[in-house]
Every structure is written in C-alpha cells, then in structure tokens.
Amino acid sequence: MNGLEQFGQDPWWIIAIKVLLVFVVCVVLTLFNIWWERKVVARMQHRIGPNRHGPFGLLQSLADGVKLALKEDLTPEKADKIVFITAPILACVPAFVTFSVIPFGPEVNFFGVQTPLQLTDMPVAVLFVMAIASIGIYGIVLGGWASGSTYSLLGGLRSSAQMISYEVSMGLALVTVFLMAGSLSTSQIVAAQEDWWFGALLLPSFLIYCISMVGETNRAPFDLPEAEGELVGGFHTEYSSLKFALFFLAEYINMATVSALATTLFLGGWRAPLGLGTVWAGANEGYWPVLWFFLKMFFFIWVFIWLRGTLPRLRYDQFMFLGWKVLLPASLAWIVVVAVIKMAAIEGGFSPNWILFGFGLAVTVVVVLGFLNRLPEKEAQVTKPTGGFPTPTLPQGGAVRGAAQPLVFGPPAVSTATNGVRILPSPEEAK
C-alpha cells in the first residue's frame, strides 16, 4: 500500500527482543556518551579525563551511576509530591519511546526471521517523534514547577520556552525533507536517499536542523535552562539521587535521539557513506549498515561535545532572536524555494537535484560569509614594552580596541598617558 508492509509482521518474541535491544542500546549509549564527552572535553582542556575504572576509564560512568543511585533521595518540603516524582519519569519515558522508529539497518536475518532492523514504523513516524518529544518537555517544565523553588521554576520556564521555540524551526526544517521524500516514515525517507543524501540536497535545512537540535536538547551553547551561573542547576536544582539520574539519562538519550534523527533524515540513515555502496555492493546489506549508522550518529554526538568544549553560553534574548528572527524566516523562505524548484522539476520533467544542491550551497556560502564579515576581530598590533621592567604587551592605541567607544568623562577627569592607556582619576581627585 505505502511501502510499510514489512512492519508489524514480526512474531511476538522478535518484537520483545527488539524492544529490549532498543532499551539496552539507549542505556549503553548514555553510559558511553558520558564517558566520551568527559574524555573529549578533557583532551580539549589539556587534561586526561577519566582513566581509573576499566580500560581507558570506560566504566567511570557506570561507577558514577551506581553512586548516584545510592545517594540520599531528598524531597523538598515545599514540593508538590506527586508531580515532583512524576516529572523525571515523564522526561525519561518519551526519550526511550522515540528511539522505536529509528531505522538501524535494512531487512536482515534476525534469529532466523527476515525483519527490518527497526522496532516499528508508521506513516507519520517523524511527526510521532516530534509529538513524543513535546511530551518529554512536560517532564522538565513540571520538574521545575513542582520543586517549589524559584531557580527551578525559572529553569523550567526557560526550558519550555526554548524547546517550543526551537521545535518550530526544527519542524519547518523537516518540511523540506518531507517534500523531497514524499513520505513521513523514517524507513521511506532513508529509501529516498539512495542517490542523494538530503544533507547535500537540502543544505540550509540541514544546518537549521543542526542548530535547532542543540537548542532542543538544552545543550551548550544553548543550555540556558540549567545555566549554573544564574540558576544554580535550573529545573533539576532540587533533584537528587535516582530522580536526578533519570533527568540526566533523558538528556543524554535525547542527544542520541536527535543525532539519530539527523542521521536518518539528512545523512542517508544506515546507507554506506561516500559512495561506498557503489564500489562494494555488500556495504548496504546484512549487519554492516548498523556500523555506518552508529558512525554517523557518533559524528553528531562528537559535534555536540565539541560545541560544549568551545563555545560560551548565549544570552537569553540573543538566543530567542536567533530562533524566531533568523532560523524561522530562513526555514520558511527555504521551504518556498524547495517547493518551487520541485514543482518546476515535476512540470518540466527534469531532475531537481543539481539545482537544489547548487542553490543551497550558494545560500549557505553567502550566509556564512556574511557572518564572517561581521566579526570585528582583527590582527592586534602590539607595542613592545620599552622599559626594563617586565610589563605585559599592550595593543596599539590603548587597552580598548574593537567596537568599544573610547571612554571620555571631560578633559580634567582623564589624562592620557604616552602609550595610549587612559588613566582614570582616583575618587578623591574627582571630588
């Protein structure tokens, strides 16, 4: 009927094994990602990272998890008990559920049964992921509210505003994928990427999705809901022990989910990368695709870690500006472009692929160049210290450079030293 006949035919024990596998993959991925993140960030900061428990410190997150679970479980006096307990569960369960529609591979021989390496699929699989993710937001919002603490409430409010805003641009970035694939089911979208990955065909959509997936998962540089400098820990300030562990688990599974979704929708899912399938026919058969899938997914997770290791946190208004005034109009305009090109291709009977690729590349290059030109940072001209005293080198023209205006408070108040550094008067002199 619509290419989904291969799903829903499995015997019950195959389904049970698949459910168990999805669960185990999620949990193991979380443990691995925590270790990997700590290791990579440590390398970026010239440290070694965890190296005590197990080979390369791989069992560190397991040890941390056990320790976390054995900690005292505190419930604040002012908390709303029922909601306080429900919230971490509400955050965690949807995170697992979304993984059920992710295709890990093609149809394989699975314990003697021919079945696709995917728990299930439906005509609206990607919409289903969005729907379940929106239930996951409830966990965070309610956790923040039920704690009965101002920090938590602010964190919860920020989080819901952030996730709703970025869900909009995320959804709009996906619309072009639906347009090109002609389907909302994940397995069909992977099938539609046999020749062209949508990441190349729809480059602007891919970039918008990548930015909004960082916002959607509350990760740095968009981790404002748990901005520790402002909100202590945000929505999970009052949580401890297993309840906190559930929030932590949910965050890492969500990271894996959006990465898996990005892989599926834009990087050809389980298909072998870089045209390997044309050279070696076996690359897209059997269990090999699982390897390609996880390689691509770990690439995204590595980008997540890289961003966290290098970028400072955005201010909230800048963050909202980016979401509503940059990403949203950009996705809308790009949808119109894709729709027009696709319609013209259907009417004219030609292939839209190269046109779309060229157009998307041009738009992206222009936007990136625009960003680069706005950077005020230029090579600083440094004056060498003149005297024998070891003073630090100063940029030419004074300590202030770049776009900052010179500070002037009237002639008597400021005296300019010879090397251009302004010396402010002491309070007594000013009086």
């Binding site: 289903f128 929106s134 108040a413």
Partner: protein, 238 residues
C-alpha cells in the same frame, strides 16, 4: 480491549480534571485526556490525527496553559468563592441539559461496524488527508489559517508598546558604571560574596576584610535585616 483501557484512563483523567484542587493538577489531567484521545485515534487507523493531536493540543496549547498556571505558584488552590452570581445553578442546569441532549442523541444512533475506512485511507492516510485538505477543503483550510494568523497578530498588536527612550546597551551600562566610579568612587565590580566558606555555611555570614573587620556589603540586605551589621541600607538593593 484497547478501547476499554484507553476509555477508562481518559474518563478517570477527565474526572481528575473536574475534581483536582490545584490548577496544575487539573491541567495535567487534561493532558492525559488529550493523549488518551490521541491513542484512540491511533487505534482507529487515523495516524496523522494521532500525531497532530499530541503535537498541537498536548505540546502547544496545554503547554501555554501550564505556562500561565505555573506562574501562579506551587500552593495556590482554587478559591471556592463564586465570582459570577448564580454560576453554580446555571452550570448545573446547562450541564444537565447537555447531558440529556447527548444521551438522547447517542441513544437513537445505531452503532454498526465501520464502513468506508479502507477507501478513505486508500494510498495512505496522510496522502489522502493532504489530497482533501489541499483540493476540496482548500478554501476552508486557508480561511482557518488566515483567522489564526489574524488572532496572533491581534495579540501582538495589543501587547505591543513603543519604546520611548532608547534602549541601553551593555556598552552604555559599562560606561555609566565607570562614570559613576569617576564621580563618586562607587565600586565597579560586583559586591563581595558572603564569608560562607570560612567557618559557617550560611549566607548571612559577612565576609572579612583584610583588616579583619566585617564587610557590610557582603550580606544581602534582606538577610541582614538591618539589625547587627547595619548593611540593610547599603546592601545589594542598589
């Protein structure tokens, strides 16, 4: 079977919506009702409606409800005071009337097996819906979206305020702070933190200055209470 489970969960949640004392609990019950309805759509082979019901109602509309309710605070309960005169009586009368109409209507309908589902979903549920929405019902669809956009713009116009004085940028604020320092000697940086790490772990322990005296600015005015170290008037309120 699945209908029995879903229906009972939905009905229980609906009862919770009616009887919950806290508005947040009521909103949560409503969320369960919405998800229950979505599940029922899924079992009735309307997968698109299932996803849209959750995305739109649970994810967007109810979240906005929660947003407003949450700002009221944790321990606010509904007041039992009637704000509209005769509201209870009117509610009972209208409720009974609605119930009677529904029972009369449903009681007269005969419920047989579903017909036409296969032809309605031919070629895929999503595809058929898209066909209908963008051909036969396109006027109604566009009119609805125009109405929604008008409402959104109306809300923005009502909430919009013109800025009278220019907005102060970070540069302006920094210059103002330095100018204040030049004029009155007011400290440029943040206030000193409390001396919590020395011997006590309480926020109201004042920090010690290099000469051993207590820093009056290190304790928030609201904690100092203006009693011992006199920081109430020059604490963090500035």
């Amino acid at each position: 079977m699945s209908f029995v489970i879903l229906a009972s969960v939905t009905v229980i949640a609906a009862m919770g919506l009616l009887f919950a004392r806290k508005p947040v609990h009521a909103a949560l019950s409503l969320a369960v009702v919405m998800v229950g309805l979505a599940m029922i759509y899924a079992t009735l082979e309307a997968p698109f409606l299932f996803a849209v019901q959750i995305v739109v109602y649970t994810g967007a509309i109810l979240m906005l409800f929660l947003f407003v309710i949450m700002l009221v605070g944790v321990d606010t309960s509904d007041t039992l005071k009637e704000t509209i005169a005769g509201q209870k009586v009117l509610a009972v009368v209208l409720g009974v009337a609605l119930g009677a109409t529904l029972i009369a209507g449903v009681g007269q309908a005969s419920i047989a097996t579903m017909r036409g589902l296969a032809s309605a979903n031919e070629g895929g549920n999503v595809q058929r819906l898209a066909d209908l929405l963008f051909s036969r019902y396109v006027i109604a669809f566009e009119a609805t979206s125009a109405l929604l956009i008008t409402a959104a713009i109306g809300a923005m116009v009502l909430a919009h305020r013109e800025r009278i004085d220019p907005k102060q940028s970070q540069t302006d604020l920094a210059q103002k702070r330095v100018a204040d320092y030049a004029k009155s000697g007011k400290h440029l940086g943040p206030l000193p933190p409390p001396g919590t790490f020395a011997r006590h772990n309480s926020n109201d322990t004042p920090a010690l200055l290099p000469d051993g005296s207590q820093s009056t600015k290190s304790v928030p005015a609201i904690l100092a209470g203006g009693n011992s170290n006199g920081s109430a008037d020059e604490g963090q309120g500035e």
